[in-house]
Symmetry: C2
Subunit: 195 residues, 2 copies
DNA sequence: AACAATTTCCACCGCTTGGTGGAAATCGAC
DNA sequence: GTCGATTTCCACCAAGCGGTGGAAATTGTT
């Protein structure tokens, strides 16, 4: 049913995983198609046959990353607990697979440049998550009407995401120095999503 | 008094500035000595004459960045107001020179990889700032003994820095969407450094 | 004006880059 | 087993890479 042959799909998969590691280590510009292909045990022209060009490979890698990181089954209504659990689960899994974290940290930082090939994609990603969290915070505040937070739900959501990503980078630079999951829990508490 | 001739120093300076822009845009691995030299109006072997190799150039760029970003005259005793003002001033200046922000955002993210040439340097930088801020928070708490913060001063300082850097990246990806200085002010308030 | 120290550029090295074209090997449905 | 679609590799391209060596030009000092 899926496109192509089974061998081809397997090769594509192995290329994407090698590419994720390479982009995480050296960034989009610093990683080379040849080294990625070599790591995947394949000629670099095979890589290009499957993905066409370097940018397309990058976008495929991001798509694969999100499929890994996002839970497959989104519930009908998104609760505060669901988001908090999502953050916690992600933080826990990140501790085991630092490569995946490094990947999006580097790409997001690179994408601050206006001509980065993944800029639009990462912008949309961010906006989606911000919207969902802001909406959740907003409905959470409706229940407890004594919140008294000077920040709007959108601002809170943005700060939450920014701090979350900042903590990942900090942890990568100083491994083990911080109990990231605990700090994230504290941040969520401040954002009125927990306790 | 300084080393070399005046023309040489001027050239070095112009190379460092071009390099800062290039590293900010493409990262350490993605930027090339030739393109940096070209931008500075100089042959790439002239660049190498001045800096020896690519890594040395990167470290020179970071040193120059810090000289730009840090106030020349550190006061004897560092007060909470001094740090808060420093953050505010930096946030304000960053708004005008996004390149400088982009530079350290990308390098810090890249330096999450264990073999990055600037990893040690950026680690030390981080540790220094963390220590100073943590100490300030700690002495600030001694005055107001009703703080009740579940986070230790070191944790607070780390979260503050991580969030600060995360906000820079967020702002670069979504220019103008956030009032970064205002949000930083709010974060400082929560860290007991303001009001 | 003379002079060494410094700066600059040119030519070159071996190697890698992203991308193309085509021929051979493999796959999978019939 | 046949046969078309798919996959894979090899050969090649122009361009760029970081780095070296040396010769010419410039600078500052006396």
């Amino acid at each position: 049913m899926p496109e192509g042959y089974a061998t081809g799909r397997a090769t594509k998969q192995s290329i994407v995983e090698s590419a994720a590691a390479a982009f995480a280590q050296k960034g989009f510009y610093g990683a080379s198609l040849r080294s990625i292909a070599r790591e995947a045990g394949v000629d670099h022209s095979t890589l290009l046959h499957h993905f066409g060009n370097k940018t397309a490979l990058l976008l495929a890698v991001i798509e694969w990353h999100d499929a890994q990181a996002m839970p497959a089954d989104l519930p009908e209504t998104i609760s505060a607990e669901f988001i908090a659990d999502g953050f916690a689960a992600t933080a826990a899994r990140n501790a085991e697979t630092p490569g995946l974290v490094q990947l999006l940290s580097v790409l997001t930082a690179e994408a601050g440049a206006e001509n980065h090939p993944a800029r639009e994609t990462l912008q949309r990603r961010h906006e989606l998550v911000t919207t969902v969290i802001a909406w959740t915070i907003s409905s959470q505040r409706a229940e407890h009407e004594d919140h008294g937070d000077p920040l709007s739900p959108e601002e809170r959501a943005a700060v939450l995401i920014a701090s979350w990503e900042g903590l990942q980078v900090y942890d990568a630079l100083h491994p083990g120095k911080l109990d990231v999951p605990a700090l994230v829990r504290a941040m969520l508490r401040e954002a009125f999503l927990l306790d």
